[in-house]
């Protein structure tokens, strides 16, 4: 793809710039109408839409294509609001309302003396949640995220993050497992909280097999290996959008990844199975905001 045209691709920088423009210029009463433009992307982005529909077929057994088409629209609608809220926070520092569920685990996470790992999914707003966490606690957070594919988009995002950086929040990109592993281990041992998305494997990252909604899939091995090496718990934590400018921070019972036998893989597999069960439960209740735009299992794509 030619460079000038690449900026208009799905992952192109033009859309990020447009989002910033919209956030800076849209009166509140035009917002719902502007969000209607997500219908354009919904209709144009065929492969992405089909990916969501395939996932929905697995999440909601017995569902038909026509209903899942409408459900997929709801996923796009939620995604549009979520990225707008994240952009609004980044550029204008406008916070939404928050509801905390599993507060006892959240407080435990904030109060524990050593480091910890937050394992989350592509649900609601990962960025918003991490920035809220960094602003409301005195804990330092290291947020791991997949790098942008498009170089111009990557440059734009990194520049925006530099400009609107939140104190106590560091963002690392997981390009290669070996690049980050030692840094993250040092961070956790230093008492930092490391946040990782554990529902999608980036190419080049080590993974472990798992089952989600009865289908074979893979989860990143990194968070579990890191928890075992650093001897810290994993807190499953989800940011769920519950309405206009309203989010729920759901913190679940921590998963302990302990070495109990000579078989390291078995111990890791137990933790991955616990994560899989937790993730499945949360997605089942909040399928409309699981932003997995590719089929989560090769069985679904076949």
């Amino acid at each position: 793809m030619k460079a000038w045209w690449r900026r208009f691709g799905v992952r192109g920088v033009f859309w990020r710039q447009s989002l910033r423009f919209a956030v800076m210029n849209t009166p509140i009463w035009v917002e719902p109408i502007v969000h209607g433009t997500s219908a354009f992307f919904f209709l144009m982005a065929g492969p992405v839409r089909r990916g969501v529909m395939l996932n929905l077929r697995a999440i909601i057994p017995g569902s038909n294509a026509a209903t899942n088409f409408c459900r997929a629209w709801r996923v796009f609608w939620n995604f549009a609001w979520t990225i707008a809220d994240a952009a609004r926070y980044r550029h204008l520092r406008t916070l939404p309302d928050w509801e905390f569920v599993g507060l006892e685990y959240f407080e435990e996470l904030c109060a524990r003396p050593g480091g910890a790992i937050i394992l989350t999914a592509h649900m609601g707003s990962y960025d918003l949640g991490a920035e809220l966490f960094a602003e409301t606690t005195d804990r330092r957070m290291v947020m791991v995220r997949a790098p942008e594919v498009d170089p111009a988009t990557r440059e734009y995002e990194e520049s925006a993050q530099r400009d609107a950086g939140v104190e106590g929040l560091k963002i690392d990109f997981n390009t290669k497992a070996s690049d980050l592993a030692f840094d993250l281990l040092a961070s956790v041992q230093n008492g930092d909280i490391v946040a990782i998305q554990g529902d999608r494997v980036t190419p080049g990252i080590a993974s472990y097999p798992a089952t989600l909604f009865g289908h074979r899939t893979e989860f990143p091995a990194g968070p579990f290996a890191l928890a075992m090496a650093a001897r810290v718990p994993i807190y499953p934590l989800f940011i769920l959008r519950t309405g206009r400018r309203r989010y729920r921070l759901l913190t679940c019972r921590p998963i302990e990844v302990r070495r109990t036998s000579r078989h390291r893989d078995e111990d890791l597999q137990n933790a991955i199975n616990a994560w899989s069960a937790q993730l499945e439960q949360v997605i089942r209740e909040g399928w409309f905001q699981w932003f997995a735009f590719d089929p989560f299992s090769p069985e679904l794509a076949a």
Binding site: N25, T26, P27, V34, D97, F100
Partner: protein, 196 residues
């Protein structure tokens, strides 16, 4: 970051609303305690705090009811204007069906044009720059709709009804702004009781 104390009826903090009419309604609810211990949209902070805590942000654009009410009012008003224009060549039901998406498209494009052209010109002639352009964009777009409503209100066809409704809402908002100005000390005191 300003955070409202969850035990108060913070959903009705006037600062969580943008337009005077909604700010006044919020103040009246807050002052009368009509909302009781219940929070916004089903939240019951006094009951749920043990298991769930809430953090309500103090931001002028936080009220969903306000955002959607004004959205529907403006969208339907502009749709009525387009329907009136189109009805000279189409039958009324077809004109209305066509006018609704045209109005949505027009409002979206107006936002883009206001952001790209109008507000830079306003800044160039001396309008102070803020963190964003939302206030000038709102002002420009609402003035445009008000001017259009003033024109359509003078016609003798059905379109004068939505035009007058819109103008009436603008007038009510103006009156509410005056009332709020008069009771501004009391509003501040009421807010101070429930905003951290």
């Amino acid at each position: 970051m300003r955070i409202a104390r969850p035990q108060a009826a913070v959903a009705w903090v006037p600062s969580r609303h943008r337009y005077a009419l909604f700010r006044l309604i919020a103040y009246l609810r807050l002052a009368s305690g009509a909302d009781g211990p219940h929070g916004d949209r089903g939240w019951r902070p006094d009951v749920d705090l043990g298991a769930n805590a809430i953090v309500l942000a103090i931001d002028r654009d936080q009220s969903s009811v306000e955002a959607y009410t004004v959205c529907v009012l403006v969208w339907m008003t502009v749709s009525a204007f387009f329907a009136a224009v189109l009805s000279s060549t189409l039958v009324l039901p077809a004109a209305i069906a066509l006018a609704i998406p045209i109005a949505a498209l027009t409002l979206t494009l107006s936002m883009v044009m206001t952001g790209l052209v109008v507000t830079p010109v306003l800044h160039a002639v001396g309008l102070p720059r803020g963190a964003d352009n939302i206030a000038p964009a709102t002002m420009v777009m609402l003035i445009a709709v008000t001017l259009a409503a003033s024109y359509f209100a003078t016609l003798s066809t059905w379109v004068r009804i939505p035009a007058w409704l819109f103008l009436g809402a603008v007038a009510f908002n103006g009156v509410a702004a005056i009332v709020l100005f008069v009771v501004r000390q009391r509003v501040r005191a009421a807010e101070a009781r429930c905003v951290a």
